[in-house]
Amino acid sequence: MSAPHLIFLLAAAYLTVFLEAAWGGARHLLGAQIDLLPALMVYAGLSGGPVAISLLAFAGGLLFDSISANPMGISVIPLLAVGFGIHAGREFILARQFFAQATLGLAASAVCPAATLILLMSGGHRPLVGWGTFWQLGVMSLAGALASPLFFRLFSTLDRALIHRRAPETSFRSDREIRRGRG
């Protein structure tokens, strides 16, 4: 993944966390706040390498924890695990398929919050959990399933619009041109 790609990815993580903290509409309407970092991690896991995955997990996770009542760094571990898990199996995944992207987004958005909750509870914290947590995990998973293909399209559009590509070299050379006719 090139430097501009990494910058886009980190900017997306920053905006995602900020919107989650500034806009409480989803919580108000659906009773659950949506977290799009796992869906972003699906993109990083399939399109990037270990550097992109680590950067996204640390930047996104620490940004998230800095404005949450979570202990600092607890969101990083599930994001890293999901990112490297997807990266390890990327050769067996049809990364360009909408269905694959949505399924991975759904799974990642269920696994990340569930793993964070398990880590919190095993660390002696008492987060708000109950039957409603299953509803919240369901809403977060569905949101992740929708967001993951959108991230792929967004980054593909940004890639085409903003990143300069060197024109491919042709085999044509003017000094080797065979001129026909009388001259």
Binding site: A21, A22, Q33, S66, I67, S68, G73, L80, P113
Partner: protein, 254 residues
């Protein structure tokens, strides 16, 4: 992964500093959103009709006059109260100051109830100060203070417990505890006596016990009859403050 574990196990003070440092990257963005809100507000004010503004102005003037009269009356009552307290040797109540704060960010996770306000240690905010909504109903308490911002944990969060009293004949006491994970404005009122005589609609206020929340702050209303639990009876209370619609809050100081 090892680095993540190191960050997770940092000492408390270092972790708090890291939180402050990283969290401050959202300040420009939060400021931008607030400026945009102000701009939208002032733009809508410029297009409001003169008639509407005059009507609004008149209503506010009347409300202001009424509040002035009430304030004068309550000052008299306050003086009477202080004199009577002195006569019977009760401890004088401390004067409480209110500081208005804007809500800048909300909890992004689903398993805590908290928000960030734009007042910090620079503004004299300290931890455990009670926080009220615009109507004076209890919202929560200050949990962590940074230089320019503070974190407020809301009623219903597992880290907030409030000693409460029900306004009925027996003045039943209990403790406001956690809510469910889906925010719907309902919290548990636990540790009630088995003989507690609660009825739906009765008002619940802070009892003043516990040393954090002063007495007589409105919490909410009982919504159903108590049920038995291991630690006494439990009833549900509908909070007076709408926690999902907070834009500005009052922080109580001494």
């Amino acid at each position: 992964m090892a680095l993540a574990l190191v960050v997770l196990n940092l000492p408390g003070s270092l972790s708090a500093r890291l939180k402050l440092g990283i969290g401050s990257v959202f300040l420009p963005m939060a400021g931008l959103v607030r400026s945009a809100d102000h701009l939208a507000g002032s733009a809508s004010a410029t297009v409001a009709s003169r008639g509407d503004l005059e009507q609004q102005n008149e209503a506010l003037r009347r409300e202001n006059q009424e509040l002035k009269v009430r304030s004068t009356l309550s000052e008299g009552l306050e003086r009477d109260n202080a004199r009577l307290r002195q006569l019977i040797g009760w401890r004088q109540r401390q004067k409480l100051q209110l500081r208005l704060a804007n809500v800048v960010l909300r909890e992004p996770s689903n398993w805590w109830l908290s928000l960030e306000i734009d007042l910090g240690s620079r503004d004299g905010i300290t931890t455990n100060r009670p926080v009220l909504n615009a109507d004076g109903a209890l919202v929560g308490r200050v949990a962590a203070v940074r230089l320019t911002r503070s974190q407020v944990v809301l009623l219903g969060d597992p880290n907030v417990h409030v000693a409460a009293v029900v306004e009925n004949e027996t003045r039943d006491m209990g403790v406001i505890g956690a809510s469910g994970p889906v925010v719907n404005g309902l919290v548990e009122l636990g540790y009630l006596a088995r003989s507690a005589n609660l009825k739906p609609g009765q008002t619940v206020r802070t009892s003043g016990q516990g040393g954090i929340f002063p007495a007589d702050i409105l919490i909410g209303q009982v919504v159903d009859l108590p049920v038995e639990d291991n630690s006494g009876n439990i009833a549900r209370v509908k909070l007076a403050a709408r926690l999902d619609a907070l834009e500005a809050v009052w922080v109580l100081g001494e």
